[in-house]
Symmetry: C2
């Protein structure tokens, strides 16, 4: 198959799926030059005030509203669909709408509630957007490869089956980059997704469609995947929340991957949230209550537990990783956090990073132990053009396939590194690490090259939460100058700031909180405390 | 280094370590032609009646006795050391005694108890024998390879550190076969270990020294490892108890392996017990109470839990695997178990095996994805002779190294197989599977070729317990004739029976109970019920 035909097919699937009745007419669309489109739903007049309110609510608040009979599942999904259609016009974040199924599911939920007076489950009527490579029965499942455009999922992914039983409504599938290995979002199927806060900037990746969906509030919750930052970069870049769980907690059966069976470094599936950190917890709690390990036996049978974290924990602040210094707005947000945490009586120490270069050396080889032959073979099937960021990713690791013995040696080194890092956290008495999500805020389209502020937690397999600091890039950040270089990579990333810092003005700053291995519950809880303490007192924090 | 010199060195280490004061003089040794040596401790006169009693006690009973001030740790370890020295003379099961350290640790424990009136931990004063490739600080750590005879462990293995803190006393290290991949026990270092019930038969392997140690009661508990049956075959062949936990529960840091970093099929470390199934539970409970996952982070943080299993469970009996039919005494023991379980009101159904050939196809390739190059390289370093069972093991899998893509494909097939088997157990409503441990009882030395009655649970990663059925091979078994052959492998294994069935007379029949993934606690509890129900009312069951 020609990649051009595959691409046309993917676009046709997408266009056919868009609920046309909710499209903004061309004359109501902002000019292409308008960067920030966050307020278009309000200004468009397409959504009623009630619908606008609905789409600003957290999943928990929506469920509560439906449980109280104040909201119907149908009006909720319609409100989010309307917002998602506008969002798609502005951001190109969807790969496929599944509006009819979503509305008919919502109607069933309403009928159930009317009949029984009860909610069907903890996600009753909650619209959730889903990254494309999470299989939906009967729909294309291409994982961003043109050659797979005709692959049709035979089943819903296990995670969708579980969430659906809990009442979730899936209304839109979202975009991802070619190869799934960019912190950006461009492929040869449906093109490039952009950032709702600034359409010249990247929404992040690989769950870039999810980033845009959350940033534009096309759903209160979304599902992404993460092997190097692919949930967290989009959440951070789009001013949303995201969670990378410890590996082997959330089920991945039914996800499409170019290298199934590769298990030296595991991708995870996890939630993003538009409005509320506690929605991440709701998602995880609901998912694990179904005991997915009884079906997908490679998961570990560790139930989700309720934690009461209090404020008696110690936060280590990782100011920089020794390879790339964060850009001024990131450091400003960390400094602010430190001050606020100390004011709140939470113990804060500096966290000296532990061998991040070593961590990168391991993970970059483990991403493509076959020198990306699996991925290249897929690309060559349609001779689709290889995106520069795909080439960038493929050339990070070993130029030739590793031998089995080399992969075994890396596994051993990886485990030692993990054990050493865990011992160090204990020795230093640090419960959580607060750190950048990326060297800067959302980069320009195609410019995301430095993964290690997120990928380091993948190689260490530590759970990590992104939350919006509440800060954005401001004029005062522009005055900050580069200090002592940490080397070539640092120089490269600083050029992206110093070349034209104004282009980032207004972009949100997301911070990352990292916890111990399998301390998933604790890290979400701690991030909740840190968010509140940092003065994020807007509606989103209290809903 | 020449393998001959390495071998002499290993023998010298061993001989030097034997506490000479407890050696039986040559004239008191039974003739080499005497097969069964189980009663030699009693007949030798070397052990006092009190010492004989001590060595017949379970670990729990010993701890209780020490807690009540009726036993001292020193007299306990001395009693077991005396028995172990005789055992070694008769069975060649030890690689090294660590008597002085053991006695001095016991004295410390006694002093602690005298001073505080308290036990130091749940294994206070319990002598435990340990398979050689579990590292002991400052001692050789050769894993059965002559080339490693000069390797000295820099630390105690994590499992030993934990058990030692709980009061365990390690008094003897035990033998293993070349390559660790025989269900038998011969190497070029310290030679061949034999079975205490019949010295012409194998003690099993690869934890064969542990099998002999348990069968002869040289310790109430032992530590073995298992990747295809290496804890369970020795336990079954020697009339003892053994437990293969689910992978990633027990810590393996500090164990020596010829292929570290190979993780597609994981070896596990676990307990054997001489006298009591509940000692397996004591071992596991104590080990996991230390939360080893806080140190060895690749372990899963699943605490050991107390279970009350009752009798409301369903047992599926796997009569044969469709490839090799068990020999007559095994089937007789299973039939007896069925009758007894039914009498006791426990639900019993037939368990139709699920694709065992497929399971073997996967695991045999995953054992040696590099076509055993790692192992062969080690052997070639000293040009030590390759034992026929080593060659047998190495030639089970792929004749040439697998590509990375082939290993990934096998991982995927493995996970699907595991998920299917788990779904089948649920669908059939079977909680536990009762099955053979091996086609027959202990085979002749060097004859163990068929691993699949144990290895199937390794590929499925299910916890499995061995318990002695209380039955032994009897005259009436000899009359049973071969029925319809299942094929060449079946013929081969039946020839081992029909060629000369009398040679197995008196050999114990061990049965295997298997539970669901991570149902480790439940499977030990269920085996306890099954053992009692099967009429195993001897002292060993009630201690």
């Amino acid at each position: 198959m020609s990649w051009v035909i595959a691409s046309e097919k993917a676009k046709a699937i997408l266009q056919h799926s868009v609920p046309k009745q909710w499209l903004l007419p061309p004359d109501k669309l902002p000019p292409a030059s308008q960067k920030n489109v966050i307020d278009i739903p309000k200004r468009s007049g397409l959504l009623t005030d009630r619908e606008l309110d609905i789409t600003e609510m957290s999943a928990s608040a929506l469920v509560a509203g439906m449980g109280a009979g104040q909201l119907s599942a149908e009006e909720v999904v319609v409100a989010f669909l309307k917002r998602a259609v506008i969002g798609h016009q502005l951001l190109n974040f969807a790969t496929e709408f599944i509006a009819d199924d979503a509305i008919s599911k919502a109607k069933e939920l309403d009928a159930y509630f009317k009949k029984t007076g009860k909610l069907i489950g903890p996600l009753h009527g909650v619209p959730i957007s889903i990254k494309e490579h999470i299989g939906v029965k009967g729909h294309t499942l291409n994982a961003g490869y043109t050659t797979w455009v005709d692959h049709i999922a035979s089943e819903d992914a296990l995670i969708l089956q579980i969430l659906s039983k809990a009442g979730a409504v899936f209304h839109v599938r979202t975009n991802q980059p070619q190869s799934l290995m960019h912190l950006c979002c461009t492929n040869n199927l449906t093109g490039t997704t952009v950032n709702p806060h600034n359409r010249t900037l990247s929404p992040g990746g690989s769950s870039g469609g999810e980033g845009a969906s959350m940033g534009f509030k096309c759903a209160p919750l979304g599902i992404g995947t993460d092997i190097g930052g692919s949930i967290r970069a989009p959440a951070a870049f789009c001013g949303a929340y995201g969670f990378r769980p410890t590996a082997k907690r959330n089920p991945t059966t039914g996800l499409k991957s170019p290298a199934p069976g590769q298990e030296a470094i595991l991708g995870v599936v996890g939630p993003l949230a538009a409005n509320s950190l506690s929605d991440l917890e709701l998602f995880q709690r609901t998912l694990l209550a179904a005991e997915p390990w009884e079906i997908e036996t490679s998961l570990v049978p560790v139930p989700w537990k309720k934690v009461d974290i209090g404020r008696k924990f110690t936060v280590g602040i990782l100011w920089e990783d020794g390879i790339v210094r964060p850009h001024p707005p990131i450091t400003r947000a960390l400094k602010h956090a430190k001050t606020q945490l100390q004011k709140a009586g939470i113990k804060v120490v500096d966290w000296e990073p532990y061998k991040h270069s070593h961590g990168w050396d391991i993970i970059s080889k483990l991403y493509f132990p076959d020198a990306a032959q699996s991925q290249k073979a897929l690309l060559s099937q349609t001779t689709e053009p290889t995106h520069p960021l795909t080439t960038w990713a493929f050339t990070r690791g070993s130029p030739s396939p590793l031998s089995i013995h080399e992969t075994w040696a890396l596994n051993t080194v990886r485990d030692i590194y993990r054990d050493e890092h865990a011992a160090l956290m204990k020795q230093r008495g640090v419960d959580f690490i607060l750190c950048p999500s990326y060297p800067g805020v959302a980069p320009g389209i195609g410019e995301a090259q430095y993964w290690l502020y997120t990928a380091i937690w993948n190689i260490l397999d530590l759970p990590a939460v992104i939350f919006p600091s509440g800060m954005v890039v401001e004029e005062r950040d522009l005055e900050e100058k580069m200090g002592e270089s940490r080397g070539d990579v640092d120089d490269r990333e600083w050029r992206k700031w110093e070349g034209d810092p104004r282009r980032y003005l207004g972009a949100p700053v997301g911070l990352q909180v990292v916890g111990g291995h399998f301390r998933d519950e604790e890290v979400i809880a701690a991030a909740g405390v840190i968010e509140v303490v940092c003065g994020e007192n807007s509606r989103r924090a209290v809903l």
